[in-house]
């Protein structure tokens, strides 16, 4: 998957987790909600891992550099993706 498509997948899955986690904050014993969160969290983790392996870190913990600190490589999120 190219960078922009994979970024979009990471963003979509991440958005799901934000919304479901807000629901779970006030419905912490909802089993369907917990299962839904866990399902999408697994998908998110693998998409994030694939993105970082191919296109660079999304968090500081995603770096593994020996020659040059990849964290500062562009694009930053506010830069247009074209």
């Amino acid at each position: 998957m190219n960078r922009i498509d994979l970024m979009r997948r990471v963003q979509m899955l991440s958005f799901v987790l934000v919304d479901v986690s807000l629901y779970l904050d006030t419905h912490p014993t909802d089993k369907a909600g917990l299962n839904f969160f866990n399902k999408y969290n697994t998908l998110y983790q693998s998409a994030k891992e694939e993105y970082e392996k191919n296109y660079g870190p999304l968090t500081i913990a995603g770096t593994n550099d020996t020659n040059s600190w990849s964290w500062i490589d562009e694009p930053w999120p506010w830069q247009r993706e074209v």
Partner: protein, 140 residues
């Protein structure tokens, strides 16, 4: 603490610069109902919240608002790229430009810098939740 995630919560890729629109949208950054105020509201109110469900949601919504803050800044940044001096003057963006050029600054559309009097944190859960409803009914 917080960890930076090197992505926007929702993508922003603006094709056509529009400084007149930027001058309005900056209010959602640093205006009285903007994302900075929202973020500070929820993150400040969580300390005196007695219920764990509500602590969680104040913490997490407050965090999400920081993500919104970044998206709004990105919109303004992209709307104001490659402007000519005539575009700046004619669009009404000149009032902002004279102080900030195209830098991103927490200010309302009318030019009032961010002011923390736009939110409350009173140490009382019901009072704070009422203020949250007034500010952002989507929280509840």
């Amino acid at each position: 603490m917080w960890i930076y995630d090197k992505k926007l919560q929702f993508p922003v890729n603006i094709k056509n610069p529009n400084p007149a629109m930027a001058k309005y949208i900056i209010s959602q950054y640093g205006g009285p109902d903007g994302e900075l105020g929202a973020s500070l509201r929820y993150l400040s109110q969580r300390y005196s919240m007695p219920f764990k469900q509500c602590i969680g949601i104040l913490n997490d919504v407050g965090t999400e608002e920081i993500g919104h803050f970044e998206m709004i800044a990105t919109i303004v940044h992209q709307l104001t790229r490659n402007l000519t001096i005539d575009e700046i003057k004619e669009s009404g963006f000149g009032d902002y430009f004279v102080d900030h050029t195209t830098g991103i600054y927490t200010v309302s559309a009318a030019g009032i810098p961010f002011d923390a009097t736009c939110f409350a944190s009173k140490g009382d859960a019901i009072t704070d939740l009422m203020e949250d409803m007034a500010a952002d009914a989507a929280l509840l």
